[in-house]
């Protein structure tokens, strides 16, 4: 069955062509349907076709949720286009719904006039009941606002893989490949890299490989046939004129792992990674176990506390200690972070934030650990905090975290989030020789007068020497108790504690002098409004500010990487704007830090739904500052604004 919506007819008539600048596709199905795999493969083919892209995997916390249920739906969204793409897109143009539950939970997001591709084979009475549909939406006319292409993908897949003699259940597992084949046809993609990938993955199971390829080809062939009538049309999205060089796709978790390896190499140190499984941080551990030739030791500890303590132990012994977790695990590590700060040992702590409090939303994204990162320890325990803005930026942030940790003998927290960790984007592979090395030197000889050792003697920046156990003659004791100036011997006298607290704060403050000044990433250095972001809100803020500027609005985008200490020029920079708007996926944490540090009237814009900001939400918020500006009467933006830039843009 196929229907074309009136909206689509008129949109096609207006645009007069089928080569959009960007397209958003969402694959949604049961968590067992392989939607993440389909999305990943489609991402690869999109990158190979030279489009810029961003993805958003959105899956349930349950590993195998009961089949057909609303909470068991797993989705993968990709936004790709012929110009710079920085978000996974607001409203999908195409929704692939593998069952009624997938349709129900994702339909609300679909752009009016968008295309629904549905597998009728799964719209049984039983599945409709599970999705709480009283009538079949494919047949009751409720989808009239959208284009609909509904056919029995299940049956077509079984037919396509028949020669391979698979059981019904196994045959149906190839449904995702059939769907991928159709998607590849729709967007004019080369099938060969995917076929090569399937052959490599199932090298030892040629029947499974053959069946998957047959399903892929059948889906592709179906597109050719179906185009003859109905809503299905082939779209070609032009490739992005990209800087020449070697490219790959990279997720945040991959980029962080690579950045940590690079950081340790630049420091000239072996790396010790202590971790404990937790969503969404585990991927970093999984990546690092594969790169042991770089002097990486991985340790899956008995708990989060042991993971960080072992990492600190390794740092004490002269390696670069790294630990990684998500909010709940970071909470457990708090006391040990204090010890690293107190003993002044380098350590990198990666926090892949997720929705909280407590277990919260394990697989959804949030930025609500900023207070925890900046303030979340007992005592006056200052600690540098860096936030990555995108998957590829995570690579450079991880190197930066390693650099600060070893140059300032301090624990450093690197903030990322579930969105960055799982999302993929194309990345121009950097040349390692372009990185500035920061080799570490250990103290080898006594550094005090009269042949004495002063383990806590500070240099001009307030940094103490790093002394490895095993170094002849430099035996000394360190610990979490307050320590005397220079010698580090136990001393909790009033003057000592005052002086050492000041020294530890001064040292971390000095990091601001060794990190770049804050830049304006889009717009002017002064003006009516600045939108200040940090972390993974980069994409939607950037697009929203870009669109607002195209409408002539005087708005700038500042994106802060160094959360603590803040860049030394940030206060003056923000004071140059009439208004400061801080969108965050929390209840206003960075806004509070900015108010506290600069006494400026930073205004919050908050979202804690577990989903990233939509560009339209940010555009609406920006527009409120520009009442009376043509095109923004009442500070409103159209309800159904989409990722597709308007023709006049």
């Amino acid at each position: 069955m196929a229907t074309v919506s009136a909206e689509r007819e008129s949109a096609l008539a207006q645009s007069g062509g089928e080569s959009p600048e960007a397209v958003v596709v969402r694959f949604a199905g049961d968590s067992g349907d392989g939607m993440q795999l389909t999305g990943g493969q489609f991402t690869l083919s999109t990158a190979l076709a030279g489009n810029d892209l961003a993805t958003f995997p959105d899956f349930p916390a349950e590993i195998r949720a009961p089949q057909g249920t609303l909470f068991g739906v797993s989705a993968f969204q990709i936004n790709f286009g012929s110009s710079e793409i920085t978000t996974a897109g607001d409203a999908p143009d195409v929704l692939v719904a593998m069952n009624p539950a997938a349709l129900k939970t994702n339909l609300g997001a679909l752009k009016l006039g968008g295309l629904i591709i549905a597998d009728t084979g799964e719209f049984s009475k039983r599945n409709l009941d599970k999705a709480k549909y009283e009538t079949n939406p494919l047949e009751d006319g409720s989808l009239a606002k959208w284009d609909l292409l509904a056919f029995d993908i299940s049956a077509l897949t079984i037919e396509a893989v028949k020669p391979f003699g698979l059981g019904n259940k196994e045959a149906l597992r190839c449904k995702n490949m059939w769907t991928l084949g159709l998607a590849l046809w729709m967007f004019d993609r080369d099938r060969q890299p995917i076929i090569d990938g399937i052959n490599a993955k199932f090298a030892k199971k040629p029947d499974i490989a053959g069946a998957n390829i047959a399903a892929l080809n059948a889906g592709h062939a179906y597109g050719e046939t179906a185009e003859i009538s109905g809503p299905l049309r082939r779209l070609h999205v032009d490739s992005v004129p990209a800087e020449p060089g070697l490219y790959r796709t990279v997720t945040g978790a991959e980029a962080i792992s690579l950045g940590l390896v690079a950081g340790a190499q630049l420091a000239g140190l072996p790396m010790f990674f202590g971790g404990y499984p937790i969503t969404p941080a585990s991927a970093i551990l999984h990546n690092l176990v594969k790169v042991k030739e770089f002097g990486v030791t991985t340790f899956q500890a008995e708990d989060e506390i042991a993971a960080i303590c072992a990492a600190i132990g390794a740092s004490y012994a002269g390696q670069l200690g790294v630990t990684s977790s998500s909010g709940p695990g970071i909470a457990l590590k708090g006391e040990a972070m204090g010890l690293a700060a107190m003993t002044e040992l380098p350590l990198v702590i990666v926090n892949s934030q997720r929705g909280g409090p407590s277990t919260g939303l394990p697989t959804k994204t949030e930025q609500s650990d900023l207070y925890q990162a900046v303030y979340g320890r007992n005592g006056d325990t200052p600690m540098p905090v860096i936030a990555a803005r995108s998957p590829s930026d995570s690579f450079y942030c991880a190197i930066e975290a390693c650099r600060i940790a070893v140059q300032f003998m301090t624990p450093v927290m690197l903030l990322t989030d579930g969105y960055i960790a799982n999302a993929a984007e194309p990345w121009k592979v950097p040349d390692p020789s372009s990185f500035e090395p920061f080799p570490v030197s250990f103290l080898e000889e006594k550094n005090g007068p009269d042949d004495t050792l002063l383990p806590y003697k500070r240099d001009a920046r307030g940094v103490r020497p790093w002394i490895k156990p095993g170094t002849p003659g430099l035996m000394h004791r360190i610990g979490g108790i307050e320590k005397a100036i220079d010698t580090g011997n136990l001393d909790y006298s009033p003057d000592t504690h005052q002086a050492q607290t000041d020294a530890r704060k001064g040292k971390v403050d000095a990091v601001a002098g060794a990190t770049p000044a804050q830049d304006v990433c889009l717009g002017n250095e002064t003006g009516k409004l600045v939108v200040v972001g940090w972390g993974s809100t980069y994409g939607p803020i950037h697009q929203a500010v870009r669109r607002a500027r195209r409408k002539g609005l005087d708005v700038s985008h500042v994106h802060v990487r160094h959360i603590w200490p803040l860049p030394s020029n940030l206060g003056d920079l923000l004071r140059g704007f009439d208004n400061v708007l801080v969108p965050e996926m929390n209840t206003g944490q960075f806004k509070t830090v900015l108010r506290d540090q600069y006494l400026i009237d930073a205004k919050p814009l908050n979202k804690v739904s577990g989903q990233p900001f939509a560009i339209a939400e940010l555009e609406a918020a920006i527009a409120k500052y520009f009442d009376g500006v043509p095109g923004n009467e009442g500070g409103e933006v159209p309800v159904n604004d989409t990722q597709l830039p308007s023709p006049e843009a």
Binding site: L44, A47, L48, G50, P193, G197, A242, E243, P244, G245, L246, R248, T249, L258, A262, Q265, F272, V289, K290, V291, K292, E293, F294, G295, T297, F299, A301, E302, D303, I305, A306, A307, C309, A310, I312, G313, A314, S315, Y316, A317, G318, G321, E335, A336, G338, L339, P430, D431, P432, K468, P469, G470, G473, M475, R477, I478, G479, G480, I481, L490
Partner: protein, 342 residues
């Protein structure tokens, strides 16, 4: 402990210039001296020795030993020790903990360092009380212990550190007490063992739990209540007039009289440090209610080495890297890539 070049030192070389801050008369002084006396006998190198501790009275220990030392956080010393040893397997790692630190807040880490078999010596000072927080009952306090947090007697049943260690998979379990002249020998045996060597040291907290172990661990006069175990020797005590034998009906241990030194005809068992089943019973002597009348088993109860965690981790790292050369450029450009032509 791993192979090392032996270094000539004296007891003095292992003393720091720091004032020792334990209460006068504390059992910790005797343990400190025993360790400082033992280290020269081992040929230990202060530059390659690391004492790691958690929190509590016992955990101040590293400050008083002239080696590398790390006074960490409560209960977590085993995790720090793991990181240290994995980062540099050449180091000789000693872990000092107490009944609160090692059996309560850090019980989890004690279990895992033992099951992993990290090559280190673990000295658990058991005084059956929280000393540094002023005398609350601890996880090893006997039921009915009066303390500020249990004024009419503690309700909790106690944990038994050596039984816990065996249950956790320890390959070396020994016991000693603070003022025992045999303590250095127990320390030496622990040091000679490759892997995690667990020693429970009964320690007299003279302020909050004074003379708690006097029935078997007083400086003198209670030798009859001590069963000093020696590999290959019969389990005799009370000057050789009594011994331990197996009651074949109950499959349990029992005490027998030994007449004129003829332990063979009395059926006294010869101690085999690799016999795990017997070790499980030995650690219960005098501790478990049914063995209350037995002497306390002291010395090396169990010693049966297995490959260590640190050596296995090194081997796994080599195997995992599969002879690959570290090439960062190659790593960054791994996976499916594409080239944009200029």
């Amino acid at each position: 402990m791993n192979e090392m070049t032996k270094i000539e030192t004296t007891l003095k070389d292992w003393e720091t210039d720091q004032e020792v801050r334990w209460c006068p008369g504390c059992g910790d002084y005797a343990i400190l001296k025993a360790v400082q006396r033992t280290l020269p006998q081992l040929g230990a190198d202060p530059s390659k020795t690391v004492f790691v501790s958690g929190i509590g009275c016992s955990s101040r220990f590293p400050y008083y030993v002239e080696s590398y030392g790390f006074h960490t956080i409560h209960g977590r010393a085993p995790a720090f020790a793991t990181g240290i040893k994995l980062a540099n397997p050449e180091l000789d790692v000693w872990l000092v903990t107490g009944d609160g630190d090692g059996m309560s807040i850090g019980g989890n880490h004690t279990m895992h360092v033992l099951r992993r078999n990290l090559d280190c010596q673990i000295l658990l000072f058991n005084n059956e009380i929280y000393g540094l927080t002023k005398g609350q009952y601890s996880p090893t306090s006997r039921q009915g212990t009066n303390s500020p947090s249990s004024p009419i007697g503690s309700v909790d049943r106690p944990a038994s550190p050596c039984a816990f260690a065996l249950g956790s998979g320890a390959r070396f379990v020994a016991r000693g007490f603070d003022v025992s002249k045999n303590l250095p020998d127990v320390l030496k045996a622990a040091h000679a063992h490759r892997g995690a060597a667990f020693i429970e040291i009964f320690q007299n907290c003279i302020v909050y739990n004074k003379d708690r172990f006097d029935d078997f661990a007083a400086a003198k006069g209670v030798e009859d209540q001590q069963l000093w175990l020696e590999n290959g020797a019969p389990m005799l005590f009370a000057g050789g007039t009594k011994g331990i034998t197996m009651d074949h009906e109950t499959l349990s241990l029992k005490i027998v009289d030994v007449v004129d030194g003829d332990w063979q005809s009395a059926g006294v068992i010869v101690h085999d440090v690799t016999n795990r089943a017997v070790a499980y019973m030995l650690v219960d002597l005098r501790v478990a209610p049914k063995f209350r009348e037995f002497p306390m088993a002291l010395g090396v109860i169990y010693d049966d080495p297995k490959p260590t965690f640190d050596s296995d981790v090194v081997a796994e790292r080599e195997k995992s890297s599969g002879g690959r050369v570290a090439d960062l450029g190659k790593l960054l450009g791994k996976g499916q890539t594409w080239t944009v032509e200029g």
